[in-house]
C-alpha cells in the first residue's frame, strides 16, 4: 500500500520534472537563448525512456511508430525544398547559398521574427483546425482577425486601468467579438444550409473594409491625422509583457503572446480529445448522420464550433495589437487567414502540430527576408516554397495513388 503510494508520488514527480524541463527549455529557446535546447532534449530523452518502460515497448518499435508518423511530412518537406532549389537554380540564384542564408536567418539570426510571425498563425491555424475537426471550413479567419484587432484597439484606446484587469478583459471581449461575428454564418448554415465557405469569406471582406473605416475614425484619418491609415497608440497598461523584462538578452519586440498561443494549442488539444464537448464536435465532424442517430443536436454543435473558431481567430488580432503593434494598421493583405489554412492543413488539423507548422511558416518568412537582404534572392521564392510545401498534403495521396497503380 505504502509502496504503491510512493511509486505513484514518484511517477507524478517525474512527470512534473519532465514538464518543467520542457517548459523552461521552450521558454529559453523562444527568448533566443539556444542553450534551452539541451533542456528540451533531456526532457525528451526522459519522456521516451518512461514511455518505453510503461508501454513495455522496444526502442525499435517506438522509432518505427515515429517514422510512420513523420514519413509523409518529411518526404514532402524534403521534396519541396529540393524543387524550390531547382527553381532557384533555373532562375539564376545559388540555391545552396540562398538556403544557407534562409536557415541561418530564420532559425538563428532572426529567430525572434520567426516567433513574431508565427504567433498570429498559431491562433488562426488553431481556429481552422478546430473547425475542421467539426467538419466545417472556417475559410474567413482573416475577417475574425480584424474583428479581434478592432475590439482590442477600441478598448485599448479608451480604458486605462491596471494591466491585470484590462488585458484579460480585452482578451475576453476580443474572443466574444470573433465568436459573435461567426454566429452569422453558423445561423445561415443551420437555418438555410448556406455553405460556410461563402459566408465566412464574404464576412472576411466585409470586416476588412470595416477595419479601414475603423482606423479612419480612431486617429488614422488621412485628412486630419499625421499618421494616415494607422490608429493612435493604445495605453501602455494594455501592452503585453515583453520577454526582455525576464531574459535581458531577448529581443525587445518579443512578447509573451507566443506562450499564450502555445498554451491555447494545448488547451484546444485537451478540449478536443479529453472532454465530452470536444468528442461531440469530432463526432459531428466525422459523420453528422451518426451524430444525429446518437441523439446529438447537430445544429447546436455546428454553432458552437463556428463560434469557438471565430473567437480563437479573433485572439490572433488581439495578441497582435496588444503584443506587437500597439496600434492597428491598414494591412489588407496580411494573409493570416490563408496562411492559417495552410498551417492547419499541414499539421493535419492537429492542434499541437499547428504550433510547429506555424513556426515553420514563420521561419520561412523570416529566413526569406534575411536571404533577400544578404544574398539578394527575392523573398517571393518563399511563396513558391510554401506552395510546394503544401504539396506535402498531396504527398500522402500521391503515395497511395502510386502504390495502387503499381498493383494494377
Amino acid at each position: 500500500m505504502i509502496k504503491e503510494k510512493t511509486a505513484n508520488l514518484q511517477n507524478k514527480l517525474i512527470n512534473f520534472i519532465i514538464i518543467a524541463l520542457f517548459a523552461i527549455g521552450t521558454f529559453f529557446v523562444i527568448g533566443g537563448v539556444f542553450i534551452g535546447w539541451s533542456l528540451i532534449v533531456i526532457a525528451l530523452i526522459f519522456w521516451t525512456y518512461r514511455f518505453l518502460k510503461q508501454e513495455d515497448m522496444k526502442l525499435k518499435n517506438f522509432l518505427n511508430i515515429i517514422y510512420l508518423k513523420i514519413k509523409f511530412p518529411a518526404f514532402g518537406l524534403l521534396l519541396s525544398f529540393l524543387l524550390g532549389g531547382i527553381i532557384m537554380y533555373i532562375s539564376g540564384y545559388n540555391p545552396i547559398r540562398s538556403y544557407g542564408a534562409m536557415i541561418y536567418g530564420g532559425l538563428i539570426k532572426n529567430w525572434h521574427i520567426t516567433i513574431l510571425n508565427s504567433i498570429p498563425l498559431i491562433f488562426t491555424g488553431l481556429s481552422i483546425a478546430l473547425a475542421f475537426k467539426g467538419g466545417l471550413f472556417n475559410i474567413g479567419a482573416e475577417g475574425q482577425y480584424y474583428i479581434g484587432a478592432m475590439v482590442a484597439t477600441w478598448i485599448g484606446l479608451r480604458v486605462n486601468i491596471s494591466p491585470f484587469i484590462i488585458i484579460p478583459v480585452i482578451f475576453i471581449a476580443g474572443f466574444m467579438g470573433g465568436a459573435l461575428f461567426n454566429v452569422i454564418p453558423a445561423i445561415l448554415k443551420i437555418k438555410k444550409g448556406a455553405h460556410e465557405v461563402v459566408t465566412t469569406m464574404m464576412l472576411a471582406y466585409i470586416a476588412a473594409i470595416l477595419s479601414s473605416l475603423f482606423i479612419k475614425f480612431n486617429g488614422g484619418n488621412p485628412v486630419t491625422s499625421k499618421h494616415a491609415y494607422i490608429t493612435d497608440t493604445i495605453f501602455e497598461s494594455a501592452w503585453l509583457t515583453k520577454f526582455d523584462s525576464i531574459i535581458p538578452s531577448a529581443n525587445y519586440r518579443l512578447h509573451i503572446g507566443i506562450l499564450l498561443a502555445i498554451g491555447l494549442a494545448i488547451l484546444v488539444q485537451f478540449f478536443l480529445y479529453r472532454t465530452r464537448l470536444g468528442f461531440l464536435i469530432r463526432v459531428v465532424g466525422e459523420s453528422p448522420q451518426t451524430a444525429k442517430t446518437q441523439g446529438i443536436s447537430v445544429p447546436k454543435i455546428i454553432v458552437l464550433t463556428l463560434c469557438l473558431a471565430g473567437g480563437i481567430a479573433a485572439l490572433a488580432g488581439v495578441t497582435q495589437v496588444l503584443g506587437l503593434d500597439h496600434k492597428m494598421f491598414e494591412n489588407l493583405n496580411a494573409g493570416y487567414g490563408w496562411n492559417g489554412i495552410a498551417v492547419a492543413l499541414l499539421a493535419n488539423t492537429s492542434p499541437i502540430g499547428v504550433i510547429f507548422t506555424a513556426l515553420l511558416w514563420g521561419a520561412l518568412d523570416a529566413g526569406g527576408q534575411y536571404m533577400a537582404r544578404t544574398v539578394q534572392t527575392p523573398t517571393s521564392i518563399v511563396e513558391i516554397i510554401k506552395g510546394l510545401v503544401l504539396f506535402l498534403l498531396l504527398a500522402k495521396y500521391l503515395f497511395t495513388y502510386l502504390k495502387k497503380r503499381r498493383k494494377v
Binding site: V198, M201, M202, L210, W338, I341, S380, G387, L390, Y397
Partner: protein, 314 residues
C-alpha cells in the same frame, strides 16, 4: 430625383454588365463543376492565374488575343489540376480548392517578380482587348438594350455566346445528361459503361477554362495590367451566385448580374463621393448582397446528390 438619376442611368447598366461578366463566368464554372459532382471553391485562384498569364501573354507578344489564349490555357491547367487532385488522388474537394487558391496567390506573386522584377502591379500591356470594342449591326439599334449589350468588348460577347452554348449542351445533348448523372448518380452512369472520371475531368477542366477567361477579362479587357489579388473575392462571390442560383445556369447568371449591379452601384456612389468619409462603407455592398442572397436562397436550392463524394471506379 436628380440624385438617383445621376447614379442610375445607361452608364450604370453598362458598368453593371461589365462588372458581372467575370462573376457570371466564374459562377457558371462553379455550376458546371458542381453539377458533375466536384466541389469547386478554387475559382479565385484559377481566375488570378488566368489574369496573370493573360497579362503576361499580352505584354510579351503585344497581342491581347494571344494573351487571352495564355489565360485560357493557364486556367484550364489549374482546372485539370483540381480534377487530378480530387478525382485521381481522392483528395477532399474543399481542401484541394483551398490549396489551389493559396497556390494562385503564391505563383502569381513569384512570377510577378520573375517576369516584371517587382511585386504589385505588372507593366501596362500595349494593347487591350477593349480596343476591339465593336457594335453589332441592327441589334445595337434596339433602344436601351442595344447600348448595354450590343456595344461591348469581345469577352462580353464571348460570354453571351458561351452561355447559350452551355445551356444548350446541358439541356439538350447526351453529354449534358451524362454530366448531370455524374453529379447525381455516378454509379448509374458507370453501369451504362460511361466513364465517370472522364466526364468529371471534362467538367472541371472546362470550369478552369471559364475562370481563365474571367481572369483575362479582368487583366486585359477591363484593365491594362495585372495586379496582385486583383480578383478581390469575385471567385467567392461567384460561388455565392452559384448557391443562390440553386445550381442552375440561369439562376447563377441572374444572381451574378445582381451582384454586378450592386458592385456598380457601390463604385458609382464611391466615385461620386456623396457621403464623404463613409463612401468607403459602400464597398461592402457586393459582399453583403452575396451574404444575403446565399442566406435567403432566392432560388430553389437543388445541389447535386453526389456533390463532393469521392467516386471509386472499383
Amino acid at each position: 430625383m436628380n440624385f438617383i438619376g445621376s447614379i442610375i442611368n445607361t452608364e450604370f447598366f453598362i458598368a453593371a454588365v461589365r462588372l458581372s461578366v467575370p462573376i457570371i463566368l466564374a459562377a457558371v464554372a462553379a455550376t458546371i463543376c458542381e453539377k458533375a459532382g466536384i466541389i469547386n471553391i478554387a475559382m479565385e485562384g484559377m481566375m488570378l492565374i488566368g489574369a496573370f498569364f493573360a497579362a503576361w501573354g499580352a505584354w510579351l507578344t503585344g497581342n491581347p488575343w494571344i494573351g487571352l489564349m495564355f489565360g485560357i490555357f493557364a486556367g484550364t491547367a489549374m482546372g485539370l489540376f483540381h480534377g487530378w487532385a480530387t478525382i485521381d488522388l481522392h483528395m477532399n474537394h474543399v481542401v484541394s480548392g483551398a490549396v489551389i487558391n493559396i497556390l494562385g496567390f503564391g505563383i502569381t506573386r513569384y512570377l510577378m517578380v520573375l517576369v516584371f522584377g517587382h511585386p504589385g502591379n505588372s507593366e501596362q500591356i500595349p494593347l487591350s482587348l477593349a480596343a476591339f470594342r465593336f457594335k453589332i449591326p441592327l441589334l445595337n439599334k434596339i433602344p436601351f438594350i442595344g447600348d448595354i449589350l450590343f456595344n461591348q468588348t469581345p469577352i462580353v460577347y464571348l460570354t453571351i455566346v458561351l452561355l447559350f452554348v452551355i445551356q444548350w449542351v446541358l439541356k439538350r445533348s447526351a453529354f449534358g445528361l451524362h454530366l448531370h448523372a455524374a453529379g447525381e448518380h455516378p454509379e448509374v452512369l458507370a453501369t451504362l459503361g460511361i466513364s465517370v472520371k472522364k466526364i468529371r475531368y471534362i467538367a472541371v477542366g472546362f470550369s478552369g477554362t471559364l475562370c481563365g477567361i474571367a481572369g483575362a477579362f479582368l487583366s486585359i479587357e477591363n484593365g491594362l495590367s495585372f495586379s496582385e489579388g486583383m480578383t478581390s473575392g469575385r471567385g467567392f462571390i461567384a460561388l455565392g451566385a452559384n448557391t443562390a442560383g440553386g445550381w442552375s445556369i440561369i439562376g447563377s447568371v441572374i444572381a451574378s448580374l445582381f451582384f454586378g449591379a450592386v458592385d456598380a452601384l457601390a463604385l458609382r456612389i464611391q466615385v461620386l463621393n456623396i457621403f464623404d468619409i463613409y463612401s468607403e462603407l459602400f464597398l461592402i455592398f457586393p459582399y453583403v448582397a452575396a451574404l444575403i442572397a446565399v442566406g435567403g436562397l432566392v432560388f430553389k436550392s437543388n445541389p447535386p446528390k453526389a456533390l463532393g463524394e469521392d467516386y471509386q471506379s472499383e
